[in-house]
Symmetry: C2
Subunit: 311 residues, 2 copies
């Protein structure tokens, strides 16, 4: 059997990298020959988790077809979020927790999706189904992925399956998941040594909303006032990025992971800012607004924006 | 929880109907409120299986959105093979063993696909994973679906999983699967009381091959010479159907289920018939050719035709 790559989406997070490592391990146990790789370097939070449990960051690839014929995707399926030459390789397996969009294959494949908070929750179930034991350090990495995606089980994307997986994995990894989880999330909140340009690109996705190219970036912090001291600098790079990339609106969600609240900064035309205000039923004051309880881009930001722009 | 429909593809076969009934049973055990329905009446083979194991044919629906908000699909995902108003309902679950094509959702969902011979093989695994007991009569119906899709485990689409499922289900159903399977397949081969028009539409699918609309129909028989006595009548209705439906080529695969051989009848332009001949490296003689060992449209007919038309 020829080797296959296993990888998550571009701008990888702890789910994309941690679950690629976990799924590759499982598939190798089942007789496949796979290697976990990544479409980018780990962020600070992911690096913290890798170090804690003794993993090296996976090899970063720019293209796949020059090295393998076939790949396995985790934590994504949409081609524009995948490796640049995804159309030149066969996708043999997918494990994911997102909607399915523009994903077409020539042949039947293994596809496993569930609407849970994290891809590692699904892979945890699969270890059970195939009766493969999860090594202690791998359990820690999978735990990290779930803590990351669910913000320590506080995001509205969290399901009972995620909670069950966290408890089971914490037991195998022998860590206090509350204590470890907070430390890991905090490791991803060090914004002091990063430029505003870097910060607005760390975890950012583009969405087509009724013909508008809308960018939604998110950064996690433990000290909102400290982040907002840099408000003018953030607005400046958001304006610049919008001009050079053609964004019709740019929203930066600054999330306090300790109390699960966010502050949003928004740049764009008056018309689009009005649509933003209608979406959240809240008034912008000097491009800024509080969004109490909002932490999930997927579940709490994109759906109201979509409705407001398309309505 | 509001009720959801579970159904297979148009022109339903034993997998589409049998697996819809099995998956609906499993989901109801897991707490959903579902009803198995169908997008057409059972064929003779499926009716034989339903009668044998004491099931009524599912309600036939033309549309879904007027009755439910949400549906679960088995044995298909491509919208053009589904209910006519599939774009007006939410798809919450899919279990399938085909390629994924033009299947897009707004929300995350449950999707389970494996490249095995029959959807019931996957559902059989899921019963095991959820530790739900399979009732005796339902095991018989799921067994029938696998026997149908794999032609009694002789089709090249058959995997080890299908074989394992057949043995396990035959044990629960307490039937000799060889004996029962042959009887069930034979029940689907009674062509004497059907017109040629009916026979070429019983199990037929259209494919876009490099801009050509190619129709591939298949009928199962136990007596090839008896079927070929009607060759002229078949060719006539294939010509007529091509004209009225705009098919660029029409191929009828007549499969002897006892010895796993087929005879093909083909109508179309000389150019397209030449592509057919190149695909199978075989000469048509008066629109007819033997295709020894060919039984699977999905695995042995569509791929070589695709290559020949697109090459």
């Amino acid at each position: 059997m020829t080797k296959e790559f296993v990888f998550g989406h571009q701008n990888p997070d702890t789910d994309a990298i941690g679950t690629a490592i976990a799924y590759s391990y499982l598939q190798n146990k089942l007789g496949y020959d796979t290697e976990a790789v990544a479409l980018g370097e780990p962020n600070d939070e992911t690096q913290y988790a890798l170090d804690k449990f003794g993993f090296k960051a996976p090899q970063v690839i720019e293209t796949a077809a020059d090295k393998v014929d076939s790949v396995m995707l985790v934590d994504h399926n949409e081609p524009q979020q995948s490796v640049s030459d995804i159309d030149k390789v066969k996708v043999s397996h997918v494990v994911d927790h997102h909607r399915i969009m523009n994903f077409n294959t020539a042949d039947p494949l293994y596809y496993r999706a569930e609407p849970v908070g994290c891809t590692s929750t699904i892979v945890w179930k699969m270890f059970g189904e195939y009766e493969v034991e999860i090594p202690k350090n791998l359990a820690g990495l999978m735990l990290s992925a779930i803590i990351s995606d669910t913000l320590l089980l506080k995001s509205p994307t969290t399901t009972d399956d995620d909670k069950e997986a966290v408890k089971a994995l914490a037991k195998i990894a022998d860590v206090d998941y509350q204590e470890y989880g907070l430390a890991m999330l905090k490791a991803g909140t060090n914004i002091a040594d990063k430029s505003e340009e870097e910060l607005i690109d760390l975890d950012a996705k583009s969405f087509d909303l009724a013909g508008n190219n809308v960018r939604v970036a998110q950064i996690n912090v433990v000290d909102l006032p400290e982040a907002l001291e840099r408000k003018d600098a953030f607005l400046k790079v958001m304006e610049e990025s919008s001009k050079s990339n053609g964004y019709d609106m740019f929203m930066l969600l600054i999330t306090n992971i300790l109390d699960s609240d966010s502050e949003a900064l928004v740049v764009g035309s008056d018309e689009n800012k009005a649509k933003f205000e209608a979406a959240f039923n809240a008034k912008l004051s000097e491009n800024e607004v509080k969004l109490p309880g909002v932490v999930s881009r997927k579940k709490q930001v994109v759906p109201p924006l979509t409705e407001s722009f398309e309505g």
